[in-house]
Symmetry: C2
């Protein structure tokens, strides 16, 4: 037996090693960083329609570069055949000399050589796929505007890739996968089929065994009423079908729960299904608690986020298919507590930024440019992905150059002609120097400083830091109102507007810009009724985050159950763009002056994913990529909760009750912080007192820990 | 009879008026300035091949913008139907509201309205064609990145068009026209056809009634020897033909005089013709003289220029199909004395410049960026086209920003890493501060200053003028060598290189930067043998222009007959990229280390067109668009000459002998200047003495004048 077993083991090991080697030597399609993302996002955004009309983005769309060079130095022990696929016209040189004859199968001689592949493609991003025995296209290739010998020169950068490995599936052909899902109910009329898929979904409607010829009209509805309103529904498709004898599948991916299908005279279909279109994602983050409603809120939030996590993070699946930086930066944070899909963050960040030169704000919105910088720094904190920061840094600099050039004489930002100052849909003055804008500006300068350090540009880092420090001092001196003990709203032409809004106060708190006295004052403000209430889920995200960060979990739990629970009680299967519990019936769906203008599956509605992961399970990275992290669980009035928070170093699993905390850690240096009426017991682990009822326990990498304690009483 | 005649006349007049009205209301395809030119030039440049391989440009190719908005305000007495064609996905809004239903036929209501057409097209330039009764797409539309209400905002500019009027022939489908020309001789082998078209030409080879199936290989030759060398010819095409039963036309337009066609076993063709591909041009400029050789030189020069005047001005038709700014600027000048095709100049100027941001010199060549600015100013002088200068001005500024940022501590330009300092193929040091580069820099700053004034940017104009003045003073102080009485070549790391080359001296002379004493010294230098001879037609252009400008016409005539006449005697049917009379046989065709690397139809070989028009017929605009001009004919030793110089205000026709000058003038204020041993007689026109043997006669617009005089004796 022994020899045979050994042979089997060796064969298995060899096979395993070969697979690893094959996986390691798997070539991917590569391109100039941003080119594919810009092109794909343009394609996606240009699908937006408003009934019969295309509704194209109202900001500048950038282009991919029509021509780039991909370069690689190789040192070969033996001659090697490479197979070159390119999207576009291409020319291969080895040491500057054109490969003649076959342009796809090329032999690289033994020895040291410089391969350059130049690609021209005006229609979609120049991209290559190169596979040899040892040579393969990957992110280690240089890419730039100049061919050999300049292809690795100062204008060259490292190439970008994604998960596109098949030579026959190049970037320009990329499509999200689909799978068929059945209708929940179908109501049949003489010439119609009214379909309910049972919940919000997205994809291509398929009419099984469509017979006859004539017009097929699809009226989509996120709500029943919308699908029942062919004259006012937002999204519709008309097709003319010639003598169909098989299945008919629409060619446009649409969001819906319902679809109202009108068929021409004499046409019939056996069944309707949906080719559900999705980005493959793994639900790594989990949350479950003693409160079934909160659990349902978490589930629907993840579903909402999942549907909006596609080629890019969308704001909503029905209407725009556009990228919005302010919305996206929130979805990034939700993503870190659910799918932890770095690629989706990187694609969205690159696509939002576009290319150079910059002549308008991202989405034309002043605050959205600022959020974009912050999003890069947060991505780095969660992912530890230095390579991405280095790669995007030049386009951070050019956007910040644009922003800096638009400061006023006080060094502050205000809306200039052509800028949209959004902040929130709330009714508030937007002219002049808004304090909340200056706070976001200071924060984005800090993001620039730390990114510059990562990129090795320490001189610029110091410059950004100085501007930020000066700005923060000016903000305090200008906008803090000692009488009202709060930041006031704005200054217009040198005159303060002493209106107190929640926005600057909650951002200052969340950004950690306040001394203890100011922090206490702001907490009082946010918990009180003095400042007008926030009505959008978009800003509730930051408001509830700020409140949770200042320990008001019990209040936050109530708010979540009230607001998001309210949507569930009103029949939501995903969370909405806005929600006013006082509105009932069809009026809830109106927005932007249109009967069904509102989105019923809006990414910014999914914020409980972030709030529950970050502030209840309480897991936060403190060094990039979770090299270090803290766990500060807070039940927020729940009896118990359990869940998982994904990290680049594995998942962190928690089970928390008022008496016991069980943790299974990931890699990285973790610290558990907790409040306990009695000194906690943590087995062999050392418990350190932090004063008062606060304690700290070191968490060992990849280990399990149980801590017995006595939770503070929640209100 | 009378009433009938009158009716006919009225009908004719009405028909004429209707035609004029129709022509005036003829819609054209319009696009964002530069977008079509950039895209089309990329497409053209990417056709270059070197045998089997694509040889793509080694500089950055810019992209068109994937999305733009076209906007127009209208005021209608009655509702009007417009027909909208767009290249790309498009959306029409009227006063910001989407047109629903049919997106091609739209009714604009009566009254004042704002039409916005947004177009997205990643693959080719967004373009529109709009035709209504009074509304039509033309250069008066605004175009920019923002839709209504921003489409006419500060980022918008006036749209561009060309001669593309048919809705069914949009910009992306643009092709030069063709016409069939026969072969001069065809030598038939068993499986081959060796074709001579009798002269240099370009187009698609057509095999009449090709029968059989198999491989068709085309080996092109500008020379007999090249076509006879399938292994080393520069350009070849291979086709695999399946069972042909009709004519076969190649799909690549190629330059050739000869084509060596190899057919597969059993394949036959009845005949070979060429689908000659050309830009429709009118030969407005004419030249004829008492010297038949010079006349032949003029004819072949025009033919050479004509073949190279295509979608853009090419350097040569065989090899590159690339745009080169240094070459192009010379062809512009030749064009003003032959076709006066403004569109070709504008297209080439826009294409060469590309878009923003600028991160390398045009063609990567320092001097080529500088020539580009000069080309814009010269175009303005000849054409008077203010609209174009205003339109291109922003991209002049961004290129000059790039140039200015690359000055050294002395405020001078030298080659930095990545720059190619070309100047000439001549063997000369190219490192450090070249005096000729500084002269071109000063001239390009002057071009910027005058363009800035045209664009209304007087502040920048003053700035450019100041930098130019300071630079010119530095050039004189640094490079003028009082001992050698000439500009020396360069300064490297503070050390003058006292080598005297013709280049800075001839440019300083031609640019008018010299005081009389220096001018006389430089003339002596250029007429002598002290400085190394110039060997490329490219720099001979400037050398002979400088010599003619300083009155050395007799010498220049001899040079032209010697150099260009030499090519004709060596069998040229177009003028060559370089010519060394000492080389004989096939070695003449070698260049760039390749047996047939040299171009035998090279635009810069056509300079006699310019030299004879500008310095012999002697016609030069002195105010933009020939609002004023001078005529200073010089026979240069010829017995007589006659010719025509085109202007935007009509042609100026001349007949000149040593005794009499006859002129038919165009519009504009002309002045005839001449030297005469005796006071000239000019009929009723006033003759003014300028001192010595120099005289001046005012030329009336659109009139004829004959002047009797006694020419100076030519040597």
């Amino acid at each position: 037996m022994k020899p045979r077993l050994s042979t089997t083991v060796i064969a298995l090991l060899l096979s395993l090693l070969c697979n690893i080697a094959a996986a390691q030597n798997r070539a991917g399609w590569i391109w100039y960083p941003g080119d594919f993302e810009i092109w794909l996002s343009n394609q996606m955004q240009a699908t937006r329609s408003e009934r019969d009309a295309y509704f194209l983005p109202f900001w500048r769309l950038y282009s991919h570069q029509p021509q780039v060079n991909f370069a690689r130095r190789v040192e070969l022990a033996a001659p090697e055949d490479i197979v070159v696929h390119a999207e576009g016209k291409h020319a291969v040189t080895i040491d500057g000399k054109f490969a003649q004859g076959d342009q796809q199968r090329i032999t690289v001689p033994a020895g040291k050589h410089h391969i350059n592949i130049q690609v021209y493609n005006p229609a979609s991003p120049p991209a290559i796929h190169v596979q040899g025995k040892t040579i393969r296209s990957d992110d280690s290739w240089a890419v730039g505007p100049r061919p050999y010998p300049g292809a690795e020169g100062p204008q060259a950068v490292l190439a970008s890739s994604w998960n596109l490995h098949a030579p026959a599936a190049p970037p320009s052909q990329y499509k999200l996968p689909t799978r068929e899902i059945p209708a929940k109910t179908i109501a049949r009329g003489k010439h119609s089929l009214f379909v309910d898929f049972g919940q919000e979904t997205i994809g291509y409607v398929k009419l099984k065994n469509l017979r006859g010829h004539g017009k097929v009209s699809l009226y989509y509805g996120e709500s029943l009423e919308e699908a029942q309103s062919p004259e006012t529904c937002e999204i519709l498709d008309h097709y003319t079908v010639a003598d169909s004898r098989g299945d008919f599948t629409s060619d446009r991916s649409r969001a819906m729960r319902y679809v109202n299908i009108q068929l021409g005279e004499g046409m019939t279909a056996d069944d309707v299904t949906l080719m559900y279109e999705y980005l493959p994602l793994t639900r790594r983050g989990q949350f479950k608690s003693s409160d079934p409603e909160l659990n349902r809120i978490w589930d629907v939030s993840v579903r909402t986020l999942e549907l909006n996590t596609r080629e890019f993070f969308l704001d909503g699946i029905k209407r725009d298919h556009w990228l919005w930086a302010g919305d996206a930066v929130q979805t990034y944070l939700m993503n870190y507590y659910s799918f932890f899909d770095n690629d989706a963050v990187k694609r969205t960040t690159r696509a939002l930024r576009g290319a150079d030169p910059v002549d308008m704000h991202i989405n034309t919105i002043l605050d959205y440019s600022l959020y974009w910088f912050i999003g890069v720094q947060e991505y780095y904190l969660y992912s530890g992905d230095e390579a991405f920061v280095k790669s995007i840094y030049p386009r951070m600099v050019s956007l910040m150059d644009y922003v800096l050039a638009r400061r006023n004489a006080n060094g502050m930002l205000e809306g200039l002609p052509g800028d949209w100052v959004f902040v929130d849909w709330a009714d508030m003055p937007k002219d002049g120097e808004l304090s909340v804008i200056q706070l976001l500006f200071a924060r984005s300068l800090e993001a620039m400083a730390s990114s510059a350090d990562i990129a090795g540009d320490h001189q610029k880092a110091a410059g950004y830091r100085q501007i930020s420090d000066e700005l923060k001092a000016k903000i305090m001196a200008t906008f803090w109102d000692a009488g009202q003990q709060a930041f006031v709203h704005s200054r217009v032409q040198g005159q303060l507007n002493r209106l107190v809004t929640r926005h600057p106060n909650m951002f200052a708190l969340m950004l950690g810009y306040l001394d203890p006295a100011k922090e206490a004052a702001v907490k009082r403000l946010l918990m009180g009724d003095k400042a007008a209430k926030i009505t959008t889920p978009y800003m509730r995200f930051y408001e509830l985050a700020a409140l949770a960060q200042s320990g008001q979990h019990g209040y936050v739990t109530g708010q979540i159950k009230d607001y998001w629970g309210g949507m569930l009680r009103d029949g939501a299967t995903c969370f909405w763009e806005q929600y006013d519990p006082r509105q009932k019936g069809v009026e809830r769906y109106a927005m932007y002056g249109k009967a069904f203008g509102m989105s019923l599956c809006h990414a910014w509605g999914a914020s409980p994913v972030y709030l529950l992961g970050k502030y209840y399970l309480g897991v936060t990275p403190t060094r990039p990529g979770y090299a270090a992290y803290t766990v500060e669980p807070d039940l927020g009035g729940l009896e118990w909760m359990e869940g998982t928070v994904p990290t680049p170093r594995g998942d962190i699993a928690l089970r928390v009750s008022a008496k016991r905390i069980e943790i299974a850690t990931a890699d990285g240096q973790g610290v558990l912080r907790l409040s306990s009426a009695t000194p906690p017991r943590a087995g062999a682990a050392t418990v350190r007192s932090l004063g008062g009822d606060r304690y700290e326990v070191d968490l060992m990498p990849r280990s399990n820990l149980a801590v017995d304690y006595a939770a503070r009483i929640q209100h």
